[in-house]
């Protein structure tokens, strides 16, 4: 039951092969059985069974959508009414959200069942899920390695079949990188496609929620529910949402693929490179035309990102001050003590590092040299993407320079950790959509192929990924011990 796709499960629920309660119970059991992965921060068993019952009732009267009764898990960055929403941080360990994120409302309206809240790097800052207050998540393909981050809990849960699918958020690669390291399908939509209301902000101009699933078809179903204009989010875009499944089987004959040579240079593991090249060969067989392109501004993406994202986060995280909600230090002596100790004790190291970097970059005397300069680079990168995507339909390359690294291996070296997002960050700066698709294995560890498309071309990306998944089975492989 737990290996079925959303479409198969929907069919099973309708034919009475199993009920949502049975399906949900099976997943809840698996979550307990595999708690060693530490994928969940909170399991909402009672709520899940309640929702499953309601879903069964909807199914019984024929008032069901595709996601009705399907067990889904939410990254713990999305506010869920009445349920702890921690964002992976001690400072929100006691925070019960009093409202639902728009995305959560949409799943509820679709009748989906929420299994619980997934582990993540603290405030989505990290590439290994090791910065979580709730401890590292383990990669189901090799439990000594990281699942990637920040949506590490989401990727591990989907890979280990602890949820049918999960939400993730992607600020610099936080959906695609863990999807690649855990061998699942992840889609970061165009900035503005999915509402950010109720999604706790890290870097507002880059954050975007998206689906993390086993297949492109599942991702299409999930995105259908998540996408759309929200009048509560001024940066969400008021464009109609296409039917993401309708074009999945379109032919790729004549598809123009560009390979940015900057994605294949120094730093890329040779075996990963070979795996990506093999995947691109598959596309050639499917009728695609492949050309090499160049985007020189890509090398500026990491420094620009590590100015803009920390700058925004330094303000976004000011609300965690111990005054109205969240962690408050014991017996504050005065206001300054309340602030410094609540924040000092409540935030982890990486979060503090980024708040400090951002505060510095915005300070008088440094603002022009850092923040303004980074914004200029960002515009340059966007222009490069626009230009490239007027020549080719999509770009392809690796998601990460290597496969999953060991737990503890990079956590002491932030620069090295930051470089693991070298191929994903520029996409967020430009705001275009991109996917990670399982493309093979190196020494038993998954490799992800990155497909980058034009603004609001999610349907095209899903079509391109789906066609690949029709001729390969990387996305169907299950890690040992999680069959």
């Amino acid at each position: 039951m737990h290996n079925k796709s959303i479409a198969e499960l929907a069919k099973g629920l309708r034919s009475g092969q199993f009920s949502s309660v049975e399906l949900t119970t099976a997943f809840l059991d698996r979550i307990k059985q595999h708690s060693v992965l530490n994928a969940y921060i909170t399991v909402t068993e009672e709520l899940a069974l309640e929702q499953a019952k309601a879903a069964d009732a909807r199914l019984a009267i024929g008032d069901a959508e595709l996601l009705t009764g399907i067990p889904v898990a939410q990254k713990d960055i999305f506010c869920t009414e009445g349920v702890k929403t921690s964002c992976g941080s001690k400072i929100l360990d006691n925070f019960i959200a009093p409202y639902n994120a728009t995305v959560v409302d949409k799943f509820n309206n679709a009748g989906a069942v929420m299994l619980g809240k997934l582990n993540m790097d603290e405030f989505a800052m990290g590439s290994s899920n090791e910065t979580s207050y709730y401890g590292a998540v383990k990669n189901p393909w090799d439990t000594n390695t990281v699942p990637g981050g920040s949506s590490g809990g989401s990727a591990a849960a989907v890979a280990a079949r602890l949820a049918v699918c999960a939400t993730g958020t992607d600020t610099g690669g936080s959906i695609r990188q863990p999807a690649a390291l855990c061998g699942i399908t992840g889609l970061k939509p165009t900035y503005g496609r999915v509402s950010r209301y109720g999604m706790i902000a890290y870097a507002s101009s880059l954050d975007q929620g998206g689906p993390m699933t086993r297949s492109a078809e599942d991702a299409a179903i999930m995105l259908q529910t998540m996408a759309g204009f929200d009048d509560k989010d001024s940066t969400s875009v008021d464009l109609p949402v296409p039917d993401y499944r309708v074009g999945l089987n379109n032919s790729l004959e004549g598809l123009k693929i560009g390979l940015p040579k900057e994605f294949f240079g120094e730093g890329l593991n040779a075996d990963v490179a070979a795996t990506i090249e093999a995947a691109i060969d598959e596309y050639r067989k499917l009728g695609a035309k492949v050309t090499e392109i160049s985007m020189p501004s890509l090398k500026l993406a990491i420094p620009a990102y590590y100015v803009i994202a920390p700058a925004e986060c330094s303000a976004n995280l000011s609300r965690f001050d111990g005054v109205r909600f969240g962690y408050r230090c014991e017996n504050p002596a005065d206001l300054t003590d309340l602030y410094t100790r609540s924040r000092g004790e409540g935030f982890g190291k990486e979060v503090k590092r980024r708040i400090l970097m951002g505060t510095y970059a915005l300070s008088t005397g440094y603002y022009d040299a850092y923040y303004i300069k980074a914004q200029k680079i960002r515009r340059l990168i966007s222009e490069d993407f626009k230009a490239a995507l007027s020549e080719v339909d999509v770009m392809m390359g690796p998601v990460t320079p290597s496969t999953a690294f060991g737990i503890g291996e990079k956590i002491g070296n932030p620069i090295e950790m930051y470089l693991s997002d070298i191929y994903t960050i520029a996409i967020n700066l430009a705001g275009v959509p991109a996917m990670s698709v399982p493309a093979g294995f190196v020494e038993g560890k998954p490799v992800g192929l990155q497909i980058i498309g034009n603004y609001f071309a999610e349907d095209r990306l899903l079509n391109i990924a789906h066609q690949y998944q029709q001729v390969t089975d990387w996305h169907q492989l299950i890690p040992n011990d999680f069959e």
């Binding site: 929403t85 303000a315 000011s318 609300r319 005054v323």
Partner: protein, 478 residues
Amino acid sequence: MNSQWETVIGLEIHAQLATRSKIFSGASTAYGAEPNTQACAVDLGLPGVLPVLNEDAVRKAVIFGMAIEAHIAPYSVFARKNYFYPDLPKGYQISQMDLPIVGVGHLDIDVDGVTKRIGITRAHLEEDAGKSLHEDFHGLTGIDLNRAGTPLLEIVSEPEMSSAKEAVAYMRKMHELVRYLGICDGNMQEGSFRCDANVSVRPKGQKEFGTRAEIKNINSFKFVEKAINHEIERQIELIESGGTVVQETRLYDSDKDETRSMRSKEEANDYRYFPDPDLLPVLIDENFKTQIKAQLPELPQAKKLRFKTDYNLDEESSTLLTSSRQMADYFEAVVKESACEAKMCANWITGDLLAVLNKADLDITDSPVSHERLAGLLKRISDDTISGKIAKQVFEELWQSTATADQIIEAKGLKQITDTGAIEAIIDKIIADNQDQVEQYRSGKDKVFGFFVGQVMKEMQGKANPGEVNKMLKAKLK
């Protein structure tokens, strides 16, 4: 004041925009609710919430910009102003920095009969913070976030005022303007209209500005004058005794009539402004401006001019009657309703009505005598139903009761007697009873005429038509 010094003053006025809901949330802006009952998730700065701009706040800012003939920015940007304070829920205030919605404009003020144009540097939109309550919490501080997110327009003047008097005139003129435009209720007790004053002094003739001090949060015209005068005196005394003024923020204490230091420049926050990524830039096109221009009310200056020419009013009356839009509306309603001579309407409003309103500390909008009821009274004066003297008596009744002038005149029998027969009988009786005076008059003592008029009116309880009495008396005494 010491004549070797001259003063430079600039004002930053915070006008609360009279929108129904807050600038970035749907919560109500009504004043006086129970603490924290008008603060929604967005106002509380909960994790994950996002601001959505209230279009009405933008509209009101543009109305203001047009009224001061300012440049309206086609592209303006909201920025985050970062600082920690318990009543600032997000740890930053959403304001505008580099690209404000209203650019350079001006306002003309009148001081001692001279008109002076004061430059306005800019006006920008921002959200208000909440309130910290330091009493009643046993040494702890309470936070009320009802006010958090209330839209403010911060209006920054050029440093072009040279006395407290000019500063007050500017503040009054601005107060009048925002109320005219209907963009701010101007309620200073509730903090809807308040200002910060930047004050510096320099030796007469010197070009460079002296070091300025900023006096924060002054919420009355009286205090603005006192605070500035106090600050000028403090700075001059300081310099003359060999000290130097330091750039700092000072607070005016109205109880002690003094300003005291809040924080120095060194202690000042680095606000680390940057564009708010949660909000899109505000784009204002010609179409939007044209729409607003069409809705723009007549401005005080234009209205005053029109009152002078159309109603033939003098400077003083037209100034008084255009001091607020409500006052002007009241006047025009009375003129229209009564169809009386405008001058008479003006005299009654600026004289009798204003006197009692001021005495009762009431605004024209709260006048117990509505424009219909006042017009009803004036009609009866102009059609000679009652005399001007009786009218004062009726007006008092209008103020006390809810009856109309006609009802009062009827009930109290105040109708003027124009029946010549009745008047003649009384005149004959007075003449018969006062033969001495009759002889005096006839021998040329014209002044005695007044005595007869007085006697007749007294006998008739003031209700006789004075014109008729004069005419008949003159004939009988011949």
